[in-house]
Symmetry: C2
C-alpha cells in the first residue's frame, strides 16, 4: 500500500521532470504566449487533458522553470565566489565555464534564453515577474564584487565596475541567444576574446 503510493509518487515526479524539460525547450524556442499546452503535451506524448494532472496551468510550468533557472544560476554564482581563486582567475574561469556550458549543454542555453526572454517580456505571469525582480540582481552583484576585488589588486582594468559587470552578462546573454537560435552548429568563441575586456595584457 505505502509501497505503491511511493512508487506512484516517484513515477509522477519523473513525468513532471519530463514535462518540464519539454516545456523548457518549447518556451525557449517560441516564448510563453506562443507555446500551447497541447504542444507541451504532444512533446511529452500525453493527451492535453492529462497535463492537468501534473500541472494546474501553463503558467505554473513557466513559473517553476523560471524558479529553477535562477536557482541554478545563483547557485553557480555563489559557488564561483567561494572558490579559492584570485579575482582574475575567477573571471577567466567563469567565462570558460559559461562558454563550455553553452556549447555542450542544451538545457543550459535554453535556461539562459528563457531568462532573457522572460526578463525582456511584459507578458509573463505576475509571480514570474516577482521572481525575476528578486533574483535577477544577484549574478550582477556577484560578478561586480569579483571585478571590484580584481581592480583593487590591479589585475582587472579600471573601467566602471558596474559597466564591466553589465557587459560581462550581456555578452554571455547575447551568445546564449545566438546559440539557442543556431543550435548544435554553434561553436563557442575563444574565451580570451571576452577575457580581454577585463584583463590587461
Amino acid at each position: 500500500m505505502t509501497r505503491n503510493k511511493e512508487l506512484n509518487q516517484k513515477i509522477k515526479e519523473e513525468r513532471r521532470q519530463q514535462i518540464l524539460s519539454n516545456a523548457l525547450m518549447l518556451f525557449a524556442q517560441r516564448g510563453l504566449a506562443a507555446t500551447k499546452i497541447i504542444d507541451i503535451a504532444s512533446a511529452s506524448d500525453i493527451s492535453q487533458g492529462l497535463m492537468y494532472h501534473y500541472y494546474k496551468s501553463k503558467e505554473e510550468i513557466f513559473i517553476e522553470l523560471i524558479r529553477i533557472a535562477f536557482d541554478r544560476m545563483n547557485e553557480a554564482c555563489r559557488w564561483l565566489v567561494s572558490q579559492p581563486l584570485s579575482p582574475r582567475e575567477k573571471i577567466k574561469f567563469a567565462i570558460e565555464e559559461l562558454l563550455k556550458l553553452l556549447e555542450q549543454n542544451e538545457d543550459a542555453s535554453r535556461y539562459h534564453l528563457l531568462i532573457a526572454q522572460a526578463t525582456a517580456s511584459d507578458a509573463i505571469p505576475e509571480e514570474a515577474k516577482n521572481i525575476i525582480k528578486k533574483e535577477n540582481t544577484f549574478p550582477y552583484e556577484a560578478i561586480a564584487s569579483i571585478i571590484a576585488e580584481g581592480q583593487k589588486n590591479g589585475s582587472i582594468k579600471m573601467y566602471d565596475t558596474k559597466e564591466l559587470a553589465m557587459v560581462f552578462w550581456t555578452s554571455i546573454n547575447g551568445l546564449a541567444i545566438y546559440k539557442a537560435v543556431h543550435g548544435k552548429k554553434f561553436k563557442a568563441p575563444d574565451a580570451n576574446i571576452l577575457a580581454s575586456m577585463f584583463f590587461k595584457e
Copy 2:
C-alpha cells in the same frame, strides 16, 4: 478630387506609420503572440475594427516591421563599409555609434530587440522567417570583412575572424536587450570596453 485623394493617401500613410511605431513598441515589449490587435489599436487611439483598414492582419504589421528593421540595419552596415576610414577606425566608430543609438534612440533598441526576438523564435510568420534567413547574414559578413582587413594590416587581433564578428554582434545584441528591459535608466558602457576585444593596446 485628385487633391482629396492625395491628401487622404497622405493621412492614411501617416496613420500607418503611427500604428507601426506603436506596434514596434508592443512587439518588442511582449513579443508577437502576446501582443493583441486591440493593444495596438488602443495604443494608436483607434477602434479594433479600424485597424483592418490599415493592415490586413497582425502578422502583416509584424512582417513590415521586420523588413524595416533589416533595411535599416543593412543600410547602416553598407554605409559603414563605404566610409573612408581604416578598419580599426570603422570598428571603433561602429561600436560608438551603436552604443549611442542604443542609449538615445528608443526605436533603435526596439528594432534590435525585435530582430533578436524574431530570430530566436519559431513562432513567427513564414514570411518573416524568410526575410530573416535572407538578410540576417549581411551584418555579420560586413563586420567580418572589416575585421579581416584589420587583421591583414595588423591593427586587429588575430582571433578567428568569424568568432570576432559573432562576438561583436552578440555583445551589441545583449546590450540592446538589456536596454529594452531597463528602459530610460540604461546607460551605455564605455565603448573602449568592447573595443578591447578587437584591438591591441
